[in-house]
Amino acid sequence: MSVVLARIDNRLIHGQVLEAWIPHVHADYIIVVNDAIARDPFRKQLMLGCVPDHLQVKICSLNELPALSQCHLERRHNLLLLFATPQDALSAYENGLEFSRLNLGNMHLEQGKRCISRTVAIDDKDTQILDRFAAMGVEVTAQCVPSDRIRCWDCTCHELGS
């Protein structure tokens, strides 16, 4: 398997992903790792319905990941992985869904978080997780859409560098 994009995006499958990222990275298989949507048949059906027929898609909970890895991920696919939060990305990574780069797309601002870019807001817990990814050798970058400048996570000042 080849992970062409691993992305944190709390909107999961939406316009930026479908119209900009998928053609840009030539993804042919989307994996959404999200407990809430995996367990809600209505929202799962809606999300699956957004994906054009020529793409494969799987929406799974964190618990379902190990089974998924065995069934699907051995085959030749260009995978696009979507997580709503850094915590989900870390859990998936620790469950064997590995990637060498992690893209920060949309992480909305809420109470207790601070903006580090126009579309990315983090708190202390997020900071720790991003540092941990960096320590494991995962390159953490922020880029909302492919035409945006890539900015790298800087573990020393916990900001996005140039």
Partner: protein
């Protein structure tokens, strides 16, 4: 009277509604909801649920028009589809909104959604096809 919500990326929802108003006159029970890049999805969900209640004051249902199936405005709107009287049409265009104005009093919301879907598709026209038909 069926209520109307137009929701889209950036400011086009408000602008389509403004254009419709300038052509058809004041539009009661209609709201535009702008979804900015980076906005909190759950906050928008709450805003949309308030907007639905507002334009559905007489209980005749609400037609939500979004800019694109698969986009965030559509994805959030679709979550209201398990509420009776809510329909979602994706791919809004101005002719569709103008036709809505003239039909909202006389149709049920589900019939209106079907009708406007067909009307909106029919209103996408390559002018060369019209010229070709005239010449042919």
């Amino acid at each position: 009277m069926v209520g109307l919500i137009i929701t889209a990326h950036g400011s086009i929802a408000a602008e389509i509604l403004r254009s419709a108003t300038s052509i058809m006159g004041p539009l009661p029970q209609a709201r535009a909801l702008t979804i900015e890049r980076g906005a909190d999805v759950e906050a928008i969900y709450t805003q949309l649920s308030h907007a639905i209640a507002e334009v559905n004051s007489d209980g005749d249902g609400v037609l939500i028009m979004t800019d694109m199936f698969g986009g965030t405005p559509a994805n959030i709107s679709n979550r209201f589809l398990n509420t009776p009287g809510i329909e979602v049409l994706n791919g809004v265009n101005l002719p569709m909104v103008l036709k809505f104005c003239g039909s909202r009093d006389s149709m049920r919301v589900d019939t209106l959604a079907d009708f406007l879907q067909r009307y909106g598709k029919k209103s996408i026209i390559n002018t060369r096809d019209i010229l070709g038909a005239m010449e042919g």
